[in-house]
Symmetry: C2
Subunit: 559 residues, 2 copies
């Protein structure tokens, strides 16, 4: 007889028995006072009468299954996997579904291998979805192109559980051959369908996509749920969709919903938390705690067919959090496979680099001519979507801080093919500039500023360091180096969070909005409406084509 | 582009558009007025604006996804697969999860092949779980022994989706090698755990069993749900657990619950219905209709990972029912893969037989000696469980109709090794006898009666016909021949139901209880507590051993 079976029957001592736990059961959203017997990392028994070689009295503390992030890009934390893991484990997360889409855009299969390798060195279970869109759309040019053939060797590998967010909605709807081959790599296929509705949504689902984390409104949530799509409520640094979507989660829909953070900087993880933060915010938005816990645990596991976790039940992983006694949801201790975690020391990660093959543009290369009615990218506070705005501008008055019309520049990091230049509204900077090498999804260099000189200074620093976030202005320079693929810091998470705080304060001092670097990183994201900037210039997402700053100018049909 | 994709986008006409349907969505338990576009048997679109080569106006009729039976033995209907299918399709069922456990006990792999073959000839999707316990326990001797090695060639075959109910609880708990090998055949493993609780339940779940249809009380349901077990609410001819378990189904637990009929005779299917009947009874028991519909559609599909059905959503099978307009749930028309069904004619099934290798016992062979305090099997109305009763009896006064203590006989059908004889309370017969060749799980011949002569007459008829149900007494003989493996009729379902009605009336005339033949068929079922009868004699299920009729007699430790 297997010893775990004997332990379940109580005829052999368990490794550990946690006595007097107030255990949350996601199956019926209830609590039960019971002892929890663990052996070899698995729950072997619940109830009374178990003996353990070691025992812990939890004295009635609430215990919930380990929290799960249904969709995250670890690179977006700016932390290496081990540091990311150390941080989110302390917040109660024990499993994340990660899409190494960012590093894959920089380094291709080598980037995926790096994340798989680094991910194995932590108790956090980092389960990987294969990046389906490298580059994000056929018109993007990043550091790599991944075909279905490139991805095939990863399918079925340990720790790889499916295909990541299929952003190429146009390719799906066109029945594109390469997209179709990618969809055949796995029967777990994450979607990415911002604002998709009606027949296009039907066609997207018919093609085999199953989930979405880009939903922003309750009506959109309702339509997607009813069409069979799993709904991930996203709460990232700037993509704050949780409060709007919370009403879509009911006891009836809870099995179809999960939390996701997608892109959350280290400073937000430290200050606000991870999935624990999502739970607190959901409860603040009126969701029952027991329903929020269901979508933080069992529901994402069911969606990804992870039948070995998601609840504290016999045969499942003994991943759990012990909560504080206060009324608020607060994780005090996290256990992974029955062992307390959170005390591991920082270890320097292995490095991986990709040389920056771009030279600094000269001022002429980032000039915007005028005058005229210009297209301006409009940021939307708390959202990843942008608006396609129009402002009359004159060449001599760009940037115009009085109307918050700043200059944005994106430089091809990989080919030295020059820069795209555009205008953006919403950053709020009254002086200086910011730049960074995190720039979804190609991760070129992106900058926004009030003066060409500051913009170029900031870009130069990013190139010199081969990656980083830089704020220039008010007589100072603040930097967070990102030497790992130009995307991640090699430093401990608390230092990264502290430096992000300094960058945040520097930007604030210059009049900028909160989370300006996360907003900056999405300026070039050609898979989310409406207007974006690439090294070629402005890009109209709905139309799927490049457009000039001045709609009336040559070759542009206008709007 | 695949034509279905074009149809989903609305650029190509669908095969059929069902206009103005009031569609039930199990994902959020809601209704939506929409058009439903179907192509090649799949839902390609919902919403407005679809064109079809053919169109039907449903004028606001309610439409629900095809109903699903999570656990059934088709043989128990006494109908061959095609007739069973014709009947339940007309009641709205489009998918059943069937365990050919009965015919496998008679004919081994040949029986499984027969059911797979016959099942393919009907529009009903009969998805098969492999019979895990042939014979039911090591002490049973039926017509076949199926090892893991025997079952292996079936694993992964089209239409085979997992391992059927693991009844050998003792074998599971002992970590038996052969049981363990069977559990490794699939990662979908149905359980069978009547009254299992506490540590034994934990151990059973740890071993990989996932669901249970043998639950009878709300407390049992609650414990099993909380331990991660899928709960099937069973409502068979005599196993009526739905009303007791209905309160366990809430919007929160609905994703973990399903309906099952397990063993339901054709007459009940005709008179009361199938899963549609379960829905009506659930609603009558206080369950919200929308919750009942969820557990009749999406939930069983999720449990069995049938992602291609369970809801009317893009890419899923266009299996659905159109309801009548009255307040009660009533299926008017069933559509399978977009086509109306229910109009197929009866076709004679292929035959399959197993010779009856037993001779009729002589009166001496079925004598019960006394006097003394005798063990008596006590039927429990509406339940499959029995009680272990004690009555003082005298040899000359057996059977004793005044106290409803009748004689029960089980004859080995396969080996001519004689009969086991016992006493049973609860059949109510005041004259005559009944016998049948349906006798779970070995399907020996079983009989109950008020007089040895009638018992032997009934048994002789069953042997002569090589299978059937027989009522003898009140100057008449009523029979339903079961030539197909001694388990199933070859006749059309309405004729089988009519004959069952005649048998029912005959039994009633003799003072017997309703559904006496279904109760009779469970008398020998050694995997459900408490007391059973085998060709060897009485069997104490909890103790797992044969016991004599008189506890005080030789070799018996008594109770």
């Amino acid at each position: 007889m297997h010893p775990n079976l004997a332990a379940a029957r109580g005829t052999l001592a368990a490794d550990t028995v946690f006595r007097n736990a107030e255990i949350y059961h996601p199956f019926d959203c209830s609590w039960e006072r019971a002892d929890l017997a663990v052996r070899e990392g698995l729950v072997v028994g619940l109830g009374a009468g178990y003996q353990g070689r070691s025992e812990q009295d939890l004295a009635g503390a609430r215990v919930v299954p380990g929290l799960v992030d249904a969709h995250v890009h670890i690179e977006s934390s700016l932390l290496c996997p081990a540091e990311y893991a150390r941080l989110v484990l302390s917040r109660g997360t024990t499993t994340v579904i990660a899409d190494p889409h960012e590093i894959a855009n920089v380094l291709g299969v080598q980037g995926i291998e790096y994340m798989l390798h680094e991910g194995r060195a932590t108790p956090l279970d980092i389960l990987v979805l294969l990046p389906s869109c490298v580059p994000a759309t056929p018109s993007d040019a990043g550091g790599a192109v991944l075909t279905a053939e490139d991805l095939l060797p990863f399918a079925g590998r340990k720790g790889v559980i499916g295909l990541g967010e299929m952003m190429d909605v146009a390719g799906v709807l066109a029945g594109d051959g390469e997209v179709t081959r990618k969809l055949r790599l796995s029967d777990i296929r994450d979607g990415h369908a911002p604002l998709l509705s009606g027949k296009d949504l039907n066609a997207y689902l018919l093609s085999g996509l199953q989930s979405d984390h880009e939903t922003t409104t309750p009506a959109e949530a309702r339509e997607k749920l009813r069409r069979g799509m799993y709904l991930f409520l996203r709460e990232g640094s700037t993509e704050r969709n949780l409060r709007d979507l919370a009403p879509a989660v009911t006891p009836c829909t809870a099995s179809r919903c999960s939390f996701a953070t997608d892109d959350r900087h280290a400073d937000m993880l430290v200050a606000e938390g991870h999935i624990d933060d999502c739970i607190r915010k959901a409860v603040a938005s009126g969701m029952e705690l027991e329903v929020a816990l269901r979508i933080a645990t069992l529901s994402p596991c069911d969606r990804f067919r992870l039948t070995d976790r998601g609840a504290l039940a016999p045969g499942r992983l003994a991943d759990f959090c012990v909560l504080g006694s206060g009324p608020e949801f607060r994780v005090e201790r996290t256990f992974k496979r029955g062992e307390a975690v959170g005390e591991q020391p920082y270890r320097k990660p292995r490095g991986i680099r990709r040389a920056f093959a771009c030279t600094l543009p000269d001022p002429d290369g980032i000039r915007i001519r005028g005058p005229g009615e210009a297209r301006v990218i409009g940021l939307v506070p708390g959202q990843i979507t942008t608006r396609d705005l129009r402002f009359p501008v004159e060449e001599g008055q760009i940037p115009d801080t009085s109307r918050d019309i700043l200059k944005a520049v994106v430089c091809d990091r990989y080919r030295d093919r020059g820069c795209g230049t555009g205008l953006v509204h919403g950053f709020g900077l009254r002086e200086g500039a910011i730049a960074g090498s995190v720039s979804h999804d190609a991760h070129n260099i992106v900058a926004v500023g009030t003066a060409d000189r500051d913009i170029l200074t900031a870009i130069r620093r990013v190139i010199e360091r081969e990656g980083g976030l830089v704020a220039v202005g008010a007589d100072q320079v603040t930097e967070l180096p990102l030497p790992v693929a130009g995307l991640m810091s090699a430093a401990p998470y608390d230092r990264v969070a502290a430096r992000l705080g300094e960058l945040e304060r520097h930007v604030e001092q210059m009049g900028g909005i909160p989370h300006a670097f996360m907003q900056l990183s999405f300026l070039a994201l050609t898979v989310i409406p409406a207007l974006r900037l690439t090294p070629r210039g402005l890009f109209d997402v709905a139309a799927g084509r490049d457009v000039p700053v001045f709609p009336g100018s040559g070759g542009d049909p206008g709007t």
